[in-house]
């Protein structure tokens, strides 16, 4: 809800993007990051996870917070999160006027192609993420680490606390009574 409001404010309010293009159906398959300033939602970004790269999308800083230099640290946060999930590449489409700031964020053009959608010219940019100092998750990682909240893979999550309760299988009786298999 908060990241929707930020994106509607910037893309629909400032950039006149139509509703159905802004909310394109990919919101429920993505990870959303929100940055707060004094408790107010100030910036948001959507991350989608492909096999070989993380795609950063819909990055906005609300107009009233734009002079605070939040964008670059925000991108660093997103890069850090991608790294912790084991990604070594971040990829994004950037409006032409923002290529400069994306280069300062460590991205470079993939090639010379320029394409356009939703009334803006875009280029594809990519950033190689340097090897993390943390353990990258694999299928052999402790399963309970993989169960942790997405942005806190390095901290115990609530499901680890639930292990104290043991495996009492409270639904077992229900299953046996009602299911043939």
């Amino acid at each position: 809800m908060q990241c929707y409001a930020l994106r509607a404010a910037v893309y629909m309010g400032e950039q006149h993007c139509p509703y159905w293009e802004e909310f394109d159906g990919n919101d429920y398959t993505a990870t959303h990051l929100i940055l707060y300033v004094d408790g107010e939602p100030a910036a948001s970004m959507r991350l989608r996870w492909f096999a070989s790269f993380a795609k950063f999308e819909r990055a906005v800083v609300l107009k009233r917070y734009r002079s605070l230099g939040l964008f670059l640290p925000f991108v660093e946060w997103a890069k850090d999160m991608a790294l912790k999930k084991g990604y070594t590449k971040a990829y994004l489409h950037s409006q032409r006027r923002l290529w400069g700031i994306m280069e300062r964020a460590g991205f470079h053009k993939v090639d010379d192609r320029i394409f356009h959608f939703s009334d803006h010219e875009y280029g594809a940019l990519v950033c190689d993420l340097t090897a993390p100092d943390c353990q990258v998750p694999t299928v052999f990682t402790d399963p309970m680490i993989l169960n942790r909240p997405e942005d806190r893979l390095d901290m115990p999550g609530i499901l680890e606390q639930s292990m104290e309760r043991g495996a009492s299988n409270p639904h077992a009786g229900w299953n046996n009574d009602r299911r043939a298999n």
């Binding site: 910037v10 509703y19 107010e40 009233r64």
Partner: protein, 188 residues
């Protein structure tokens, strides 16, 4: 009486009440675009806690959600709030279409008074649509940032002589008797 828009560039203008979560999100997106994007209202003031106790009306041009208003229901009046139309769709009386839908809705509920709080700069817009000030100009204090206005649901029936308290209705529903956000930050 202004003729209300039926279509814009061949696309039908329609209104509906938000009935599902997705509908509400469309209303919220339109408001975020107008109030947060254009008018720089902070998130926590725009989404003030009244949204789940209100009725949301959404206007569409074709499939595109372009305008919205929410109505809060009080015992003696209905209060349309947060009227917003996306910038490039303004000038087609979509605001009026939304308010007419509010009026009809109030009528079906047996409500006979609509009450709004408007910015002084928007007074003439509302006066043109037949709204009148609740308190005459002389008696309201000069520093006031918002103006209370009322309109009869049924134009043939005069308004009863009731006054809604100006300040109280801005407050969050469970705390109507305690102080809410300062008047100076009220956007509508």
């Amino acid at each position: 009486m202004t003729i209300l828009a039926q279509s814009i560039d061949g696309e039908a203008v329609t209104t509906k009440l938000a009935m599902r979560m997705e509908d509400s999100l469309q209303a919220f997106a339109v408001r975020a675009a107008c109030f947060m994007g254009e008018m720089d209202v902070p998130f926590s003031e725009e989404f003030d806690g009244h949204d789940f106790g209100a009725t949301h009306v959404i206007a569409y041009v074709g499939e595109e959600p372009v305008g919205t208003v929410r109505v809060r229901w009080f015992q003696s009046f209905a209060k349309p709030e947060r009227l917003a139309v996306i910038q490039r769709f303004r000038g087609h009386n979509i605001g009026q279409v939304l308010l007419e839908r509010c009026r009809k809705l109030a009528e079906t509920r047996g409500c006979n008074m609509l009450y709004v709080q408007v910015l002084p700069g928007d007074l003439s817009y509302w006066e043109k649509m037949g709204w009148r000030r609740l308190v005459s100009e002389e008696t309201s204090s000069g520093a006031k940032q918002i103006v209370a206005m009322v309109k009869a649901v049924d134009p043939s029936k005069p308004l009863p002589d009731v006054e809604a308290p100006e300040v109280v209705v801005l407050r969050p529903e469970p705390q109507l008797d305690s102080s809410g956000r300062p008047l100076s930050s009220a956007s509508n």
